[in-house]
Structure formats: structure tokens, C-alpha cells
Subunit: 431 residues, 2 copies
Amino acid sequence: MGLKERINAANAEAFRRIVAADPVLVDVAPASEVIPGMRDRLILHSGPPVTWDRMCGAQRGAAIGMCLFEGWAADPVEAEQMLRSGEISLEPNHHHSSVGPMAGTISSNMWVWVVENKAFGNRAFCRQVESFQQFGDHSSSAIAQLARWRDVWGPALRAAVRKMGGIPLKQLVARALLMGDEMHNRVVASSSLFANAVAPVLVDCGLPKEQVVDTLYYAGNHPFLFLGISMAAAKASVDPARGVEASTVVTAMARNGTDFGIQVSGLDGEWFTAPAPRVEGLLLPGWKEEDAGLDMGDSAITETVGWGGFVIGGAPGILNFTGGTAEQALAFSREMRSISVGRSPDYLIPALNFEGSAVGIDIRKVVQTNTLPVIDTAIAHKEPGHGIIGGGIVRPPLECFTKALTRFGERSSEWSEGPLSGRTATSIPSS
Amino acid sequence: MGLKERINAANAEAFRRIVAADPVLVDVAPASEVIPGMRDRLILHSGPPVTWDRMCGAQRGAAIGMCLFEGWAADPVEAEQMLRSGEISLEPNHHHSSVGPMAGTISSNMWVWVVENKAFGNRAFCRQVESFQQFGDHSSSAIAQLARWRDVWGPALRAAVRKMGGIPLKQLVARALLMGDEMHNRVVASSSLFANAVAPVLVDCGLPKEQVVDTLYYAGNHPFLFLGISMAAAKASVDPARGVEASTVVTAMARNGTDFGIQVSGLDGEWFTAPAPRVEGLLLPGWKEEDAGLDMGDSAITETVGWGGFVIGGAPGILNFTGGTAEQALAFSREMRSISVGRSPDYLIPALNFEGSAVGIDIRKVVQTNTLPVIDTAIAHKEPGHGIIGGGIVRPPLECFTKALTRFGERSSEWSEGPLSGRTATSIPSS
């Protein structure tokens, strides 16, 4: 088998694993119960590894919020001191089978969605989505929302999800894609369908009526309810595609507001980073360009399985959040085919006559065509202490992909079936 | 004011009334309680007036079903005899401020959605949608579904809707249009949003838990739940635009499977009919072209307010029901602008960059451009006794519009501000 064929075969295997995924929501649980390696005085965050001194304002604000939520610090000043001193550890979600929206912070008592990929047996986790603390707001009202999730809504949904024996997500997501969701920043249909699914069961769980009613109001009116589930489903779906020798398929795109990092199947365990880019989009009233922080969040995991920007053509309702036209959105989804291994047999785009979404980003194709993945995303403030300030479209730095491709050549010497000795990015054959 | 200006001003007024509508779901109730003129031994049906001898198979089957549902007849043979003899009266829904899907049959004990147009104070009614009896199936299982609606689901939803003080529909519909609904044959988003809106209230109405759970399962899993609400909302919205002197705006399009009929604002009370056309579309597995009945149902009331085929470009998810391509669907919605008075300020099409839907069909424009309204619809069997067999796209016969325009010339002599004496269709000035 020639080199090109070998890489293509490896990518076909990575693609096969991604599309074979069977994500099922099996639980809602405290992070300490379910996330591998979760421990006291540890905050998980979005993106590649980052130290406190390089951490962006919004993520700092969110980390301060977690110290207050956990009761480790009495106030933001004390929290900041603990974080700066290293008394609180910081590690990426992605190192713990987890993902988090925006700042992405998860600590022991944060309840998380638990998605099991029934086709492979692996699990992934994501915290719940809200519009304040995850953007860096550490006010008492922002922290109070987290407490409600921990004490009322999370436990109620846990009871319902467990009573149902889990909720299969593949069909639910497929239906939502026909309803104008793209599973990243537009999840109103999936959120609504999810609330429909749990409602009758929730009534029958023996919970106090007030908790049932409160949770039904919460679930039925949260436009981003499903995003945490979607992200955990994407992470659970793509993780089995990690570590396929000789595969150039992207297995993670994640940003911490300082760096944009990607991971690649055949280079598992390594991050390829470059400075986080600015997001092009729309700001909420009262905010200016110079207020905006840089690209942040693990939510681009949705694009690695062919959702988000890859299906945005079918979700024009998102354009009043991100900006852009319906024609541009369709062009984005078509364009993503040129950098992907194949098309999903399950996740279809009705506006493209039910053609499958593009799945499996090939770093070779990205570099060769200079076509970067399209990611739709929210925008946080550059300073700590604020909620969401906008949304838009972003593309990763090309540098992440060229670095990865160069390293791909270097590491080919480790391949069990023989090296790709001394090759560099430019000498790796095209797909 | 010249003749053209006078008609245009009248149409602007009709248009103003339609877009000013503020439909609110205020009740769910037995027809006998709320529908004006409802009485024992009366069956209301869809479309223009029709006698038993001319009635199509599916509508006959549905009328037989109502006789069984009401207990007027012990079996279909007796029911048919009562209907043929005139012992049971048949009148159009539209003569009772009502509409009904497909065969559209409503009798005293059929529970109906009650929508009040708060801007004008009028009410309209529509029966609940299901996939069997309304298509002509009068089997015991089809009738049992109607009984469940009457005994369990209808009363539970009545309690919730009343406790909520009504559910405003304008915003709900506007949201659903951003989620790929078109409010005629694709109402999955609005149904889901509606189910979530009632869920927490339903839990708090003091109903037996079994009824609450059963109703939540029903509401959360009925893909056409909202269609009856949508139709009542459309009827309530367009009714105030009836009877505007000199207006050529269509106020009803309705079919009984034998005739297609339209009503026109300035010609209120008259039907302009032509033979019901064949529907072009997709049949469910097992059915053939020759099984299909002709176009049927009051549901085209949705198109008269700018929904259905007028917004189908934003609802490509419907195309696996109706057939056709996403490009054709967008073209349909654009084309409808050429026969309409204006654009809705509230009901927007995201796939057309949030432009408003075309509202107010002008019979002059239809005739002058030979462009007929696009209606998406379900397909019934031509014989009694079957459920839904397919879906597709249909256009009304041009003859309905030319007849109406001719009559418009004739009746201008009655105008308070002077006649349009002796004019015919061809001499009425263009818009």
C-alpha cells in the first residue's frame, strides 16, 4: 500500500468510527462522581493547556466563579490569589474526556451531562450551558444559577433520564437538524424536543411537585438547554477515532481565549496551537468591538463531527445571532465538504436536499486547499465579570494545521508498518 | 379616486387587518359549547357546500365516522343511510367560523381549538388533527382516537390553556417559522414549543396524574398537534378582512375533495368553485396514483395568511413529505410575492434572509400573471375507510379566480361609492 493509500485507509477508519457512534444520554451527575481524574481544588477549563498568567479575562473570571461556587474562596480577591498561587489546579477538559462551553470551567460539584457512545462503550461529559458564569461573570446571581442547576434542575433531570434508561441522541439530533438547529449555537429545536421527551417521565419520578414544575419551566424555556448534551455527544462520538495510526483526521478543536488548539487522530495526545483568532459577528446592544475577547470554548467539538458551521446552511435562523446571509451559510456547508473525509449517513441538511453533513476534517485537505473549518460561536468579553456579549463566525489559524502536518511527517517513524521518514508537510501526498 | 386606486386602497385595508391580527388560543372546548349554529344531527365539513351525492369518498367515510362517534348510528351501513336520507345535515365549516383539516368533519361532541383574535374580538374554531378519521377511516380504532381526545387530552389541555389565561400565538408561530415549520403540513416545531408551554401548567391543574402523564406523552409526540391551532389562528386572523368593499383579497381557499372554492373580501358570502385538482406529490409505501382522492381540506386557510406554501422555502424539512427540491421551495415562496398585497412584518423566512412572508392573495394578480397560489397538502384515499396515503403540492384551478373576478365586476354596482358598471374580468385595471 502506498503512502497516500495508507493515510486514506486510516482516515476511512477514523471516519467509520465517527459515523458509527451511537451517543446516548445516560445520566446527569456531579463531576466528582463521573469525570475521570476529577478531584478537589481542580478546575477543568476549555481549550488546550494554559497557565493562569496567560489565561484570558473571561476564563479567569469563570475560574474565580468556580472558586466561589465551590466555597474555596470567600470573595473574588481571595479566589484570584488562590488561582495565581497554584493552590487551585487548572487542566483542560479534553484531558478528562470532557468538554465545556466558552470558559468551560468544571469543578467537583458542577453537575454534568453524561453521554455514552453505545457503539464503543466510551463516555464523555459536558457541563450545563448558561449565559453568565461560563462567560466570566462571577457575580452572586451568576453563581446562584449554578447552584439551582446543582440543587434543583440537575437532580430532577437525572431522575428522569435514569428512569428512561437513557435518551438516544442520534435520532433526536437528526430530527433537530431538519428543524433548523445546527447543534452548536442554535439548539432551540433539540432543546424543545428534549424537554418534550423528559416531561411525562419527570412527572412520574416521585419528586416534589414544585421541583417538577420548576424544572419543566427551566427545560421548556432554555434556548441553549441542549448544547451541553450536543457537546458531550460530539466528544463521545469522536473520541473512538483518536489514535488511528496514520490518520490525518482532526479529533478536537478547542480554544481557551488565548490559544486555538487542534488534536489529530494519528498524533494523539499532542496539541497544535496558535494564537486564538478574533470572531467576526454581531455584538449585543451596548458592546463594542474593543470589548470582545478572542475565540474561546470546547464547543468546536461539534464541528469535528460535522455539526455547527458544517451544517449551518440548514440553520438560517442562527444568522440573527452570528450575522451573514442565508446564501453564505449554504456556501459554508458546501465548502466544508472539500476538507472532509465523507458525508454523514444520519445527519442530513434539508436545505441541501437532505445531503449528509461533511464529516472528518482532514488536515491535509485544509492545508492543501487553504480552506479552514467554519465554526460558529458566541463571544465573551475580554475582561472578567461579564456575560455573553455577542456571536459570530470564526476560522482556526492555518498555523495549527501546518504545525500538525509537519509533526505528522516527523512521527511517521513510529508507525508500526514503517516510517514516513523525513517527510515534511509539503511532501505528504494529497488526499 | 380612480378605480385602480380604490381597489388598491381596499386591499391595503384588508392586508392591514390580516397583519394586525393577534391570535390567542383561549380554550379547547366541545363544538356544541362554542361554535355558532352548532346543533345535534349536524356535521360540518371542509370546503364549499356539497351534498351527499357529490361528496368524495374520504369525506363520506369521515362523515360516517362522525355518526359512529356521536352514537347516531350503530354501524357504517346505518350511518350511510342516515346521511343519504338527509336525516343528518351537512354544512361547511366556513359557514360557522370554523375550519377542519382534510374531510374536516366537526359534530357537537368533537372538541375544538378556540382561537380569539384579540385585535378584533372575533373567534375561530378548528378540530384536532389526526391521521385516520379525518382522512375517511371510520374503523373502531379511528373512532377510539377521537374519544380519547374528547375524554382525556382535550379536557386536560383545556384546563392548562384556561389556567394560563390563553396562549399568544403570534410569537410562537414566528419562532416556529425560524425552526423550519410552515404551519400547514410541517408543524413539528410549533407542536413541540406548544407542548413545552403547557407542560408545567398541566402538572399544576389538579388533574389525575395518569391524565397528566398521558397528555404530556400525547402532546410531546404528535407531529401535527399544532396544525389545528394554526388553522384556527389563520381563520381568526383573516376573518376581519372579509367584506371590505372593493377588495380583491382572498379570504378563504377550501376544498371538499369534489370542488375547490375560494372566497373574496369584497364578495363576502359567495363561493367561486371549480373541480378539485389532483395533488402532485409523494405517496406512502403501498399506495398508487389511482388510489388518491382529489384535493381536500380547509387547511389552505393557512396560505391565505401567508403560511404554508407561501413560506415553504423556509421549511425544506417538509420536502420528504411533499417531494420537490429546496430550490423549488424557495422559488415558490418568492413567486407568491407576485400575487400578494404585501409582506408580513411578523412572520419571517430565515432562508430568505428574514424577509416577511407574502400576505393577501389578490385575485387580480393571480389572473393577470396566471400565477396560482402554492398549497402544500396531505393526500386522502378516493374511497372511504382509509387513513393518510401521502402528501404533495397543489395549485387551485384558475377558474375559481376568473369566476371571482368576473363577479367582482358585476357586483360593483352595489358599492356605496358608485358602481364599476358592466366591467368584466378583463377590463378591471391591474394592481
